[in-house]
């Protein structure tokens, strides 16, 4: 079924309006799918083997840009999880006793294989998840390789990670990852767990299992001992079974705050460890003295990167009232230049919304915002016969109490609020139960450092946004979660530190 979206028409050109349109259109520049050889059907990866689901059920994973099925994938259940956890338990003892140097070699091998198959992985990531190829090519895949390289280096240095304190691995880690950065989140989860000597059962998101399955092929080819990494595909029930399983010593979850709370309840009273990386409602604070054109770029990157399917997306724009009008003029001009469309086109800036469910959720929140009286501005959206698309959208006159300002939309929708003073800006930025990210835009570096300490956010960027590096820890405050991924700090999530 095709989804038709109501979008506002481009305004008639007036004297002071820039026109972005037909004068010199870019021709299609589609990335070829030549390197991709998808199988018709994918099984679980358990104990080093491809294992058909116990229940015999498969489901289709669909390209959100075309609504075409890409492959059939095993739908895991409790029995599959049982087998996978058993395999991981079996593998734990020898893997954890392996010298760190040897574990590191396996991780280096995986990192290099990701680089070798980079183009294929990027294309599949865009096909299965809908993100623009320029992002999967230039961000997701290189960062995934980099994460393995980084933690490979730690594998034989763990005793130096915590000031000489003795460390030992936790055991079996059950890792549940989201659909927004499927391969990269798999890397964020697997690399530190393996470097520390744990074994893993990984459950990819149901809408985006393919790159994790390709990664399992890489892991197989790297001759990792059977059972060290197991991949069980499927839906939330498989994830829940993994969380409940008493043979899992550690649960690592990235996803929604609602599910995170359920997991925390399920683990209460057990000795099993938990780290959560959950939702966000990141704020940009743009001050009067900011480099305005670059702030606009940062805001655009912050909210429209990966269609806004980013937990640390800068979805709230808090702008000093005196420059709000000037900023909005620039912002509205800028979003007209975003190319929305085929994720595999190299010039696409905004690809497809990951799933029909997510599209409907975005539409519902946008409708709620309009009903609450916020003013909507959407860039024109090219008509698509098929696929899930949503135009880049900016809401102005958003009240702090509005759902748009409070709830995580997880789509290409920005809410603009204004402030008068620095303290009001901080108060508004912190006035949310999330606390994952923030961006400060000002020409005063002293203000950046001052506010970084006052903002309740796990990561604060100064005059930039969405900068990532495997060496830099990432994680949340408040209901955005706990525990850190990345950097030396990311090791602590997978070790007993004596």
């Amino acid at each position: 079924m095709s989804i038709k979206l109501a979008t506002s028409q481009p305004p008639a050109p007036s004297r002071r309006e820039l026109r972005f349109g037909a004068a010199w259109p870019y021709s299609p520049a589609k990335e070829g799918t030549g390197p991709v050889r998808l199988r018709e059907r994918y099984e679980h990866f358990i104990g080093g083997e491809r294992r058909a689901p116990e229940g015999g059920v498969y489901y289709a994973t669909v390209s959100p840009a075309t609504e075409e099925p890409l492959a059939e994938v095993a739908r895991g259940d409790e029995a599959d999880v049982e087998r996978a956890v058993h395999a991981a338990r079996q593998a734990f003892e020898p893997w954890s006793r392996l010298p760190g140097l040897e574990r590191g070699k396996y991780l280096f091998r995986i990192a290099r294989a990701i680089q070798e198959r980079a183009r294929e992985l990027a294309i599949v990531e865009s096909m299965d998840g809908g993100k623009p190829i320029k992002e999967s090519r230039d961000f997701d895949v290189p960062q995934a390789a980099q994460t393995f390289f980084y933690y490979a280096g730690w594998a034989d240095k763990l005793t130096h990670a915590f000031h000489g304190r003795p460390v030992r691995p936790l055991g079996v880690a059950g890792q549940i990852i989201p659909w927004n950065f499927p391969l990269l989140m798999a890397a964020w989860k697997l690399a530190p767990a393996l470097a520390c000597g744990n074994t893993v059962v990984l459950k990819p998101a149901e809408t985006t299992p393919l790159t994790a399955l390709l990664l399992s092929e890489i892991i197989e080819a790297a001759e990792l001992p059977p059972g060290v990494v197991n991949v069980v595909t499927g839906f939330g029930d498989a994830g829940a079974a993994l969380v409940r399983h008493p043979g899992v010593d550690k649960v690592a979850f990235t996803g929604s705050t609602a599910v995170g709370k359920q997991i925390q309840k399920a683990l209460a009273g057990t000795r099993r460890r938990l780290t959560l990386e959950l939702g966000g409602k990141g704020a940009h604070l743009v001050f009067q003295d900011a480099p305005l054109d670059q702030a606009v770029e940062g805001v655009i990157q912050g909210i429209f990167f990966n269609q806004g399917h980013v937990c640390c997306a800068g979805s709230r724009l808090l702008v000093e009232e005196s420059i709000a009008d000037a900023l909005l003029v620039k912002l509205k001009a800028r979003i007209q230049t975003l190319n929305v469309g085929d994720p595999l086109d190299k010039n696409t800036d905004i690809g497809a919304i990951n799933s029909k469910e997510q599209l409907e959720r975005i539409q519902a929140l946008v409708a709620a915002g309009e009903a609450e009286g916020a003013e909507r501005y959407s860039a024109p959206l090219p008509v698509k016969e098929r696929g899930y698309f949503f135009p880049p959208t900016v809401f102005t006159r958003v009240a702090q109490s509005s759902r748009l300002a409070q709830e995580e939309i997880f789509g290409p929708v920005l809410s603009v609020l204004t402030f008068r003073t620095e303290s009001e800006a901080v108060e508004k930025a912190n006035n949310t139960f999330y606390g994952l990210s923030a961006g400060i835009w000002t020409n005063k570096s002293a203000r950046v450092f001052d506010l970084a300490g006052k903002l309740e956010a796990g990561v604060v960027w100064g005059n930039t946004y969405n900068q990532f590096d495997p060496s830099s820890p990432f994680g949340g405050y408040k209901e955005s979660g706990f525990g850190r991924e990345g950097g030396r700090q990311g090791l602590a999530s997978y070790l007993h530190v004596g």
Partner: protein, 300 residues
């Protein structure tokens, strides 16, 4: 216009982000039709330039011929926008280009240093215009700018503009000597306020000449001026633009910063001496499917 230095306040520019944005726009994939149209645009926007101490009548005549008809085997290609020469050769260029739509641009105001008395600069301009230059490419006094005498810089631009009369005034900031993007932005704002029809990055005599990031900063100044006044100022990156890929990158910068209305030789030019043959070669490749030998393209 006699504005004191402290009265000029321009928005700050963040180096990291502006360079990242300029580089990102270099990653647009320009293929097939878009490439053909883009290369055609690039030719129509080119200021074919010779600014050497060794310039002669013969050299300028050859360049003018090339400007009118860049590729004898493909008569539909061209002409370029203008030929840019030293003041002493304006008459020669005018005569050679008579009857063609190609404009004559002349550098002036003690090009390239700008280190001369105002009277000399004005006389330089007056003569070039008198000899028939349609466009004047003046240099700002970077010494004055860097020593904080912004009012004096603006004053000079305003006076040169008066002398130009109907001739279009392009103001060369020589971004490679200004030292920071903040200064490039300030100089852009100042030149626009003082009466520039175009702002131009470089003389071509200083490295770095045009860069995507310095061009983007200038385009942003033009955009802000347009938002404020509705007036469209032109832009000319010059120097160091030697390949089709670079030229297309600049076109992308303009397309995505200022939009459709600037994709015209009236508002965008590329100053170059060796770019044209590379563009012709790329066009021939689009047409024939293979690169032709360099000998097929005339050296002028």
């Amino acid at each position: 216009m006699t504005t004191a230095a402290q009265e000029w306040s321009s928005p700050p520019v963040d180096r990291v982000m502006v360079e990242a944005r300029a580089a990102a726009l270099g990653c647009r994939s320009i293929k097939t039709d878009a490439k053909r149209v883009g290369l055609g645009l690039a030719i129509s926007m080119m200021d074919l330039t010779t600014l050497e101490g060794a310039d002669t009548q013969g050299k300028v005549l050859a360049l003018c011929r090339k400007a009118i008809q860049p590729d004898v085997r493909r008569p539909s290609v061209g002409p370029v926008a203008a030929v840019c020469v030293y003041p002493s050769l304006v008459r020669v260029a005018r005569a050679a280009l008579a009857g063609s739509p190609v404009r004559v641009a002349s550098v002036a105001t003690a090009f390239p240093s700008g280190q001369s008395a105002l009277e000399v600069k004005l006389e330089d301009t007056r003569r070039a215009v008198g000899d028939g230059a349609h466009e004047i490419d003046m240099v700002i006094d970077r010494g004055a700018f860097l020593s904080g005498e912004l009012g004096r810089v603006a004053d000079e631009i305003a006076q040169v503009k008066t002398v130009c009369g109907a001739a279009h005034l392009k103001v060369i900031l020589e971004t490679g000597e200004l030292g920071s993007y903040d200064n490039i932005r300030r100089a852009s704002d100042l030149a626009i306020a003082a009466g520039a029809d175009f702002i131009k990055t470089s003389t071509g005599k200083i490295e770095p000449a045009a860069t995507p990031a310095s061009t983007l900063v200038m385009l942003e100044a033009i955009r802000d001026h347009f938002f404020r006044t509705g007036i469209r100022i032109g832009m000319k990156p010059a120097g160091g633009v030697r390949t089709s890929k670079q030229a297309l990158h600049y076109l992308v910068l303009v397309k995505e910063t200022l939009g459709d209305d600037w994709l015209t030789p009236e508002l965008f030019r590329i100053g170059a001496s060796t770019l044209l043959n590379d563009v012709l070669m790329q066009l021939a490749k689009l047409e024939g499917g293979a690169y032709e030998a360099a000998e097929y393209f005339t050296r002028d």
